[in-house]
């Protein structure tokens, strides 16, 4: 348990701030001089003269939820797709599932981000959708590859000989056996999602203007980095904490669970 203390602390700070921060934020909208320090502001003001701490309290929820939801959506879509493609014995179905994804893979993700985000309205679900779409092919490939090797293994064959349904084999065994591979991927995928949200903000797409958002803060306040570093440093630090914490947690979890092979 002890070894989860550090990752828990790393993840805990940003996540608690993100989830409960809005409860402590003031509704005060008065604006001060932009990028000023002092004047009753703990961490100074941002590009609009708003209180940085207040923005930090407000800005985590959208980022954490966007990145987490996007990652969750990716997995919810990709794993069943990968499972279906990997477990099917029909080459046609496999190709039909995989080729369109190759196409998505061939479009550079930044080009896709640029185009899709300019077409779609500024709503949180749009960004979630885009980030999920960009990550989709990779995760499908990973899950297909691991489903493929599992599906040709004796455990699956034994179940098929028992007359088990595909669903039961897929959910009851293959999906569970893939957990390790997917968990290793999940941490970096989540970081990638945060990163994409941040880049979207840099390209000026996807985040509604009024929204307080850590990723957007890093971008929008960067001009003031040298008068007022907190407006960038604080949200950046929280993002790094979050992503390091998540990855560390998965690293440790994986290390704690030996592979099936090692367990024997």
């Amino acid at each position: 348990m002890n070894k989860y203390l550090l990752p828990a602390a790393l993840v805990g700070v940003p996540v608690l701030l993100a989830l409960f921060g809005p409860l402590f934020a003031t509704g005060d909208t008065a604006k001060d001089v932009a990028f000023a320090l002092g004047g009753g502001h703990w961490f100074g003001t941002d590009f609009l003269g708003r209180d940085v701490w207040n923005e930090v309290l407000l800005g985590g929820r959208s980022l954490v939820l966007t990145a987490a939801t996007a990652t969750a959506c990716t997995y919810l879509l990709a794993v069943p797709l990968g499972l279906a493609a990997g477990m099917t014995k029909s080459r046609l179905l496999d190709e039909a599932l995989m080729r369109p994804l190759d196409l998505v893979l061939a479009i550079p993700s930044m080009l896709m981000l640029l185009l899709l985000a300019s077409i779609a309205p500024d709503a949180p679900w749009v960004l979630i959708g885009i980030v999920a779409l960009i990550n989709l092919p990779d995760v499908v490939r990973i899950s297909r590859a691991s489903a493929l090797s599992l599906a040709s293994g004796p455990a699956v064959e034994a179940m098929r000989l028992q007359g088990e349904s595909r669903l039961r084999i897929g959910v009851g065994y293959v999906a569970r056996a893939m957990r390790r591979t997917l968990a290793a991927d999940l941490g970096t995928r989540f970081t990638g999602a945060i990163y994409l949200v941040a880049s979207a903000s840099f390209l000026g797409v996807g985040i509604s203007p009024g929204a307080s958002d850590w990723a957007a803060m890093v971008d929008r306040n960067r001009t003031g980095l040298f008068i007022q570093p907190w407006a960038v440093a604080l949200p950046a630090l929280l993002i790094v904490l979050l992503s390091v914490g998540v990855n560390l947690a998965f690293d440790r979890w994986l290390r704690a669970r030996p592979t099936a092979l090692e367990a024997r």
Binding site: T29, D32, V33, A34, F35, G49, D122, G204, P209
Partner: protein, 488 residues
């Protein structure tokens, strides 16, 4: 001329190459001066070409290639006398060149910027009187016709020029090389009619990212950086590594309220907006103090501006009362803004917060920055807006007449139109001033524009650059005048 730096850098000194960083327009950039649109294109056109007139720091037309102008009594015929000037290839600037240039600008099928202003000229009726005099016939009386001569893009090119790969003009610099979206080099024109430039060479490089422009200046890669944010200015102002020039009265910030449709067809609601905006807070936060308060009128500090009208300040009680009167309490109104220009979005966010205090719910929508201007021209009811410097007359004729093409506030009042036409039909300056006051008074009471502030245009230069005029708004004669600049 002579800015803050002038004293520090000593007397003018000839020689050297000045590198200036501007943001650019990519591969689409052209050298055709009639197609100019971006600041960088104007700066280049200004180096290579001349107009007949240009705007002074108070937006009044100053003679350039035109030595002087004399209108007829009815303001329909204007006689222009040209200076003794020559193009870079040695040919003199003649009336034929002027007529040909204007004909090219207004030719059918062209979408050139100056076309709207110059269309007032009856070109077939205009003629060359002698080799230095040209006589323009106008289609209607136009007392401020020199404004049209100074308009953006009304450059004089040699007759018959079609191709601007290696442009020949009459400006202070001669063309050397050009790569669209990358850089432009020009060399001193020793025979320039207004005195040869101090610099040997001028290079204009494209640097789209503001931070990169500042960095390039700090790193000694350029000597002049155009268009800085107030934040950058504050960061580097006192460090002594660069000179910061704040060109006042350059950029007007405001809101567009569409007066022809609900809810802003109700004058009370427009007035409520006038009273709920906290201009001080906006200037402090959005402009970061680098600007002045606006009084909901365009053209502060310019000729004919109605200084006498009282300055407005936030009055929430008044605003609430007006909102109530308009029956708009708790109304949710879509508020369009975009990243198309700096400050638009920030102002919208701040104003939305201020409006909430008065009980009005402004729902900020971030529009696509590339199509923002044409989107708000047609759609929506409330939008962030900005405008560069232009004479009051141009502002009115382009934006506030029934016939205006970019009448974004849909301000269409026959009585207002009549005042404008009367002002253009009188040769009496005092009378015209009075008419302008009447127009502005009406706009101040119930117009569709809410100009809350005027910001400085910020440029920065290396410590050794002298001769930058610190009082010229962007886009005026003294702005980006590299022929007056020297390197110490």
């Amino acid at each position: 001329a002579g800015g803050t730096g002038a004293t520090a850098v000593g007397p003018p000194r000839p020689g050297g190459r000045l590198r200036a960083a501007f943001s650019g327009g990519g591969a689409a950039e052209v050298l055709d001066p009639h197609e100019t649109d971006l600041y960088i294109e104007i700066a280049r056109a200004k180096a290579l070409f001349d107009k007949l007139a240009d705007y002074g720091s108070d937006m009044s037309p100053q003679p350039r290639l035109a030595e002087r102008w004399e209108p007829s009594q009815d303001l329909l015929t204007w006689r222009i006398t040209l200076r003794r000037a020559a193009f870079h290839d040695g040919r003199p600037v003649r009336p034929a060149d002027v007529l040909a240039s204007f004909a090219r600008i207004v030719e059918p099928g062209s979408s050139r910027r100056a076309k709207a202003s110059l269309q007032v000229i009856d070109l077939p009726g205009s003629r060359e009187l002698d080799d230095r005099t040209v006589e323009f016939r106008l289609k209607r009386p136009y007392a401020e016709f020199p404004n049209a001569l100074a308009t953006l893009g009304a450059y004089i090119v040699p007759e018959g020029t079609r191709d601007f790969d290696r442009p020949v003009g009459s400006g202070p610099f001669r063309f050397v090389s050009f790569q669209p979206g990358r850089n432009f080099v020009a060399a001193r024109n020793p025979d320039y009619w207004d005195g040869a430039p101090h610099l040997d060479e001028l290079e204009i490089v494209v640097t789209n990212d503001e931070a990169a422009r500042v960095n390039a200046l700090l790193g000694g890669q350029v000597e002049y950086a155009h268009d800085l944010t107030p934040t950058s200015a504050r960061t580097h102002e006192n460090a002594g590594r660069v000179q910061v020039h704040r060109l006042p009265l350059s950029n007007f910030h405001g809101l567009v309220l569409k007066t022809d449709r609900p809810p802003f067809d109700r004058p009370e609601l427009r007035q409520a907006m006038f009273h709920l905006v906290n201009r001080d807070e906006l200037v402090r936060s959005v402009l970061q103090g680098s600007g002045q308060l606006g009084n909901d009128l365009y053209g502060k500090g310019y000729r004919y501006y109605a200084d006498a009208l009282p300055q407005r300040a936030q009055d929430l009680d008044r605003a609430r009362a007006l909102i109530k009167q308009a029956g708009a309490e708790g109304l949710a109104i879509d508020f369009d803004t975009s990243d198309a220009s700096t400050g638009l979005k920030e102002a919208a966010l701040a104003i939305a917060d201020q409006a909430r205090q008065a009980g009005l719910n402004l729902n900020v929508r971030l529009g696509n920055k590339d199509t923002y201007w044409s989107d708000i021209a047609k759609n929506g009811v409330l939008a962030s807006y900005r405008s560069g410097a232009m004479p009051l007359e141009s502002h009115i004729s382009q934006r506030l007449l029934t016939t205006s093409t970019t009448n974004n506030t849909k301000w269409q009042r026959p009585d207002f139109d009549a005042l404008y036409h009367e002002a253009q039909s009188t040769a009496d300056d005092a009378r015209r001033e009075q008419l302008y006051f009447q127009m502005q008074d009406q706009l101040h009471r119930e117009g569709g524009f809410l100009w809350w502030g005027v910001s400085d245009w910020i440029v920065a230069s290396a410590p050794n650059v002298g001769g930058i005029d610190d009082r010229a708004p962007a886009n005026t004669l003294e702005w980006a005048r590299y022929d007056k600049v020297w390197l110490a």
